[in-house]
Amino acid sequence: METGVVISTELKRAFDGVVPFVVATSSSDGIPNITFMSKLFYVDKAHVALSHQFMNKTWKNILDHPVFLAFVTDPETLGMWKVQLQFVEQQHEGPIFEDMEMELMALTTPQNITFSLQSALICKILTVEQVFKVI
C-alpha cells in the first residue's frame, strides 16, 4: 500500500545510518522521549523498519501511541527530514528481520557495541517534511 510520500535518493541515503537518526515518542501522560537509533531500514515505498534492540521506553511509548517521529540526516548534503511514522507490526523472523540482523552486526562490530535484536518494527510512513536543505 502506498502513502503518496516520495522517498528521494537523498532521503533514502539519510536512512542508512551513517548519521544515526533520532526518534521522538510520547508516553500516555505526554512525556516525550528522544533517543538515537542506528539505522532506518527501507522496506518499500510506504514502509520502513526500526530495529528493536535497546528500546525500553521507546517501545512502551510506541505501544501507547503508535504515531511517532524520526529525524534523519543525509551525510552527503546534510539535508534533514522529519519522518512521521505509524507502527504497524513486529516481526521476529523472516527476511526483513534477518537482513536487519546482518546489517546491524556489520555496523556495530567495529565499534565494539554488543547488541541483541529482539524484533523488526515495521512502520508506515505517514508524512515527510524537509527541515533543512543546503542550497
Partner: protein, 157 residues
Amino acid sequence: MKALLKNDHLSILQAATTSLWLGNSSLLHGPDMMRLTGARPAEDQFHLHLYVPEKYTFRFLENIRENKKVSHLFSCVYTFKTFQVKGLYVAHRHCTPDENSYQHTYLEEFGKTAVNIGINSGMSFINYWEDPAICFIIRPQEIFEQTPKPGAGNKIS
C-alpha cells in the same frame, strides 16, 4: 536543592563534539523535536538554556501551549556517551548577541567534528543557523543514561 546536572554532564553538554536535541509532544500533533544549535547551564545552575533558530520552532511552540513537558538529548559523537534530561519548559525569548555568537562557534566547531568523523559535508552545519534564534529555558527534573548499550534508559538522577 542540588543542581541535577553534574560537572561531567555539563562538560559534555557544552562540548563542540556534542549533538543536541529538544523534543515535546501534544495529543493533537504527536511528538516533535528540533536539532539545537547550542546549550548552556543558566547562571543559577538549576535551568538550561537551549538555543535553536526560530524557523525550526513552529510545531514545538504549538505543542508547548498544550503540554510543558520536554526532553533534551545530548550525545558525544566520538564516544556515544548520551544523556536525556526530562523536565519542564519555563520560558523562551530571542537570543542575545552573546548567545548568537556562542551558537556560531558551536556550529563551526561541530562542523569540524563532523568532518573529522567522515561527514565531508560537516561544515554545512553552519548554514543550519538563521537569525533570529530562540533561547528555550527548561528546568531539568530527571536525567537518564542513554548511551547505546544494555541498560540504556536507566534513570541516574
